[in-house]
Amino acid sequence: MLQVFIPSLMRKLTNDKHIVEINASSITELINKLDKEYPGMKQQLTEGNLIKDGLSVVINDEISNNPLLEHLEDGFEIHFVPTIGGGTF
């Protein structure tokens, strides 16, 4: 099981649920499964099958450079967080 943390601004889609548990081995699979359970999630998270502009994916404790390429394992934590814009690094 993956622990998926739902950002506060998206919790209206999950009836205010903070953490959702889902079985998936990739981010794409994860998002598809999320959307099935909570319709509208895919639209919130993706654009043209890519992670939406302005969103970053944290896998465990680091922002992933290439989330769609990562292999997810049981027990991983997934977070969707606002990107750090504006020449911050």
Partner: protein
């Protein structure tokens, strides 16, 4: 993966840096020092107003001036601006940038958005002529009402970008606005938790715009050849991002652009953006000559990205024991004329040093008519820490707790969940606080009147990102190490030392070079405290690659299996036959296919290696009559993971501390009501001089980061985060008056003391 080996030979030593002799003899070539045959000199016409609409740009008179060779405006860009592109930086941030914004920030197209925004540029046979030509360009415009702070930005009817909609997690909220983005992090149930707090402190704080203040102004030379190839020589924190952004702005493929990074005279985040490079390239194409552009100090202050002014409200609730049970932050940051303030980073960092179960953080990125803000050393974290750490000080005072103790019982540690979600890997926050609490400085008595002591803690999350490195082995047993991280503070050496450690070499046996974008793999910016961490890691990988190739080679010579070869203390030997030995240098001298090692890493974004915590202890003396603050003693404590080159780690700690002290006391942009900066000189923008400071003591804490082969944590940034708050807390302890705005200049301290006195007098009268 962190090695347990502690007896390093090279790591932890202090050799003379490889670029040192050139830098103390004046031979090192910085961007403004560069020259090339047939060179023209350029100048930029800039907006005289903060907000308006361009009606007409008439360059005809300027074109007729003898010596003028080219004039360009935004009309000279190739292709449509109406698309989103992914800059090199964006790629790591998971977002795209409107090409129009990037272009408008280097040459305005339809609107004037801040005083100093480039409008046109001239190339001429001398800079004097170019400047004369600038004054002959006629710019007609219609003035609009400027928006100059977040309060105006959020309430004003003056909309800066008509098409802008507020983004929330990438989703657009319809409606015309100056609010570019709203960020929120929520953990637990803060509303409920505050109800149970024994004590709640809530304060509103503000900070003014400050500049990175690097001593070298921006400069760039570009040559656009007839075959379409563009070469740029410039001062940048990232040659590859500069290449990519320049290509995007110009509308040419990145393969057409080569960026040659010259020595860089400071950056602190401010030399990540591209300002002059595309303009110089356009002038070169138009004139057929290479063109050089150099900013004046006034242009640096008024036209390059500072870090923004902010308005913040922070609320912390604690129980009787001092444990924080709930926290809330409202952060409004000025983005400047285009989206992208450091409010997202500020939102991540605002409570990052503490384990708090219930947190709500709201961040607002507000467009205003000022220069687009840029990164400045731990962007956003310093302002946020000023708010948090002064509120915590007040909580401690109300509970009559020691300021270090309250921080210690609330410290974040491995496994602590941050408000934005992730849990920490191994971090050194607790160790930093303990070190402060146990330090001689913290425990020394204060005996003089008007002297106060303050402490504060700061966090910067650090990034990893991509780096590449190659190593070529020479016959004499030395190695040439080629890397793409521009070296601002000695990173060539701290990177070379990590390769030397692997190969059993002396630091001087490694010859490092920072090269152009055609000559090494993609390497991200020198920023985010990532260079020694990630490019050092790439050098480590490249050195391992060299070692493995040498093992194969010696195995071939000895006709044994490579698995049976060991390498230790500079000697290759057979595990089975003790007679079979060869030194590194002997093996290097043997002929055969050249040995070239490659290292290439991609090490994650925010949070790489767990980030770095730092803290400050500050003693100040206040002149109660003039409000002048003298910093008597200052100690910076920082977790370096493993200090590769301790002198450079100390140097980063001291430099960051002093920038923080400047920010605390005297640095600020003075702006008129129409958006003009009035103190754009190094006389009136008062950065600390040597006479304004004591020695800056340093204590390096080493809690190795998970992952990095030597446990390195980047140390470039966390050290600036706590000083303003530490100074503020010290001023409070010296005067009895809390300061809620940066800078805490003599006038505001004097006023605080006078108001405080009258408060006391009034209460006595009652």
């Amino acid at each position: 993966m962190a090695t347990v080996k502690k007896d390093y030979k090279v790591i932890g030593s202090r050799p003379v840096r490889h670029d040192g002799v050139d830098k103390v003899t004046g031979k090192a070539i910085y961007s403004a020092d560069f020259s090339i045959s047939d060179l023209l000199h350029g100048k930029v016409l800039r907006s005289p107003i903060a907000h308006g609409i361009i009606k007409k740009i008439d360059t005809s008179k300027a074109e007729k001036l003898p010596g003028v060779r080219a004039i360009v405006t935004s009309k000279d860009f190739i292709g449509s601006s109406d698309k989103n592109i992914e800059t090199a930086e964006d790629r790591n941030e998971g977002e795209t940038t409107r090409l129009k914004y990037l272009r408008d920030n280097v040459l305005a197209s339809d609107k004037l958005l801040y005083i100093g925004q480039p409008v046109a540029a001239v190339a001429a046979t001398s800079s004097h002529i170019a400047e004369e030509a600038i004054s002959l360009i006629e710019l007609e415009y219609e003035t609009l009402e400027p928006v100059l702070n977040t309060t105006q930005g959020l309430s004003s009817k003056s909309i800066i970008h008509q098409e802008l909609e507020t983004k929330e997690l990438g989703t657009k909220v319809p409606g015309k606005t100056n609010l570019a983005e709203h960020i929120q992090h929520k953990l637990g149930d803060p509303e409920e938790a505050f109800k149970h707090a024994e004590i709640i402190v809530e304060r509103e704080l503000t900070t003014e715009t400050v500049h990175q203040g690097y001593i070298e102004p921006h400069a760039a030379t570009a040559s656009w050849s007839k075959d379409g190839r563009i070469t740029v020589w410039c001062s940048t924190q990232g040659a590859f991002p500069a290449r990519d952004t320049t290509a995007d702005i110009l509308g040419v493929p990145i393969s057409q652009v080569k960026v040659v990074p010259l020595e860089i005279g400071g950056g602190f985040g401010g030399k990540i953006p591209v300002y002059l490079e595309p303009v110089a390239a356009l002038l070169s194409r138009a004139s057929g000559h290479p063109v050089k552009l150099v900013m004046s100090r006034k242009e640096v202050f008024e036209c390059t990205g500072p870090t923004p002014g902010t308005l913040m409200r922070v609320k912390i609730g604690a129980d009787k024991s001092g444990k924080f049970i709930a926290a809330q932050a409202h952060l409004e940051f000025e983005a400047g004329a285009f989206p992208g303030s450091p409010v997202a980073a500020g939102s991540y960092c605002v409570f990052a040093a503490y384990d708090i179960p219930n947190v709500l953080i709201d961040g607002y990125d507000v467009i205003v008519n000022k220069a687009k803000t840029a990164a400045y050393r731990a962007p956003g974290a310093t302002m946020a820490a000023f708010a948090t750490e002064t509120v915590i000080d007040e909580v401690a005072e109300k509970l009559q707790m020691d300021p270090a103790e309250i921080r210690l019982i609330n410290t974040a540690k491995k496994g602590t969940r941050r408000a934005d979600g992730p849990v920490y890997p191994t971090i050194g926050c607790e160790e930093v606080i303990k070190t402060i609490k146990d330090s001689e400085h913290y425990n020394s008595p204060i005996t003089e009147p008007h002297v106060g002591r303050g402490i504060a803690i700061g966090y910067w999350f650090n990034v990893g990102l991509e780096s590449a490195c190659t190593i070529s082995l020479s016959k004499n047993g030395t190695i040439n190490l080629v890397e793409g991280s521009t070296d601002i503070g000695g990173t060539r050496t701290s990177i070379a030392m990590q390769a030397a450690e692997v190969l059993g070499l002396l630091p001087e046996d490694v010859i490092p070079s920072v090269v152009d974008t055609d000559s090494i793999g993609f390497t991200s910016v020198t920023g985010g405290s990532r260079t020694t961490y990630a490019t050092g890691w790439a050098a480590y990988e490249a050195a391992i690659d060299v070692k493995n190739q040498m093992i194969s080679k010696v195995a071939g010579i000895w006709s044994i299996d490579a698995d049976n070869v060991e390498f230790e203390d500079g000697v290759f030997f057979s595990k089975q036959d003790t007679e079979l030995k060869m030194t590194f240098k002997e093996l290097a001298a043997k002929s055969g296919a050249p040995i070239v090692g490659r290292g290439s890493v991609s090490k994650g974004g925010m949070g790489a290696g767990g980030g770095s915590f730092a803290g400050a202890i500050c003693d100040v003396k206040i002149d109660p009559e003039t409000g002048k603050t003298t910093v008597l003693r200052f100690t910076c404590v920082q977790d370096a993971g493993k200090a590769i080159y301790p002198s450079f780690v100390e140097g980063q700690m001291q430099g960051g501390s002093v920038q923080g002290i400047g920010w605390a006391l005297n640095e600020e942009y003075f702006m008129t009501d129409d958006g003009r900066m009035t103190n754009s000189s190094l006389l009136d923008y008062r950065m600390p001089t040597s006479l304004d400071l004591p020695m800056i003591d340093t204590i390096i804490v080493e809690v190795p980061s998970d992952g990095h082969p030597y446990g390195v944590r980047g140390v470039g940034e966390a050290n600036i985060v706590s000083p303003p708050a530490a100074v503020a807390n010290a001023i409070y302890n010296a005067t009895g008056v809390r300061q809620s705005s940066l800078p805490m200049n003599p006038a505001s301290i004097t006023k605080g003391i006078q108001d405080h006195r009258s408060d006391i007098l009034n209460s006595m009268n009652c």
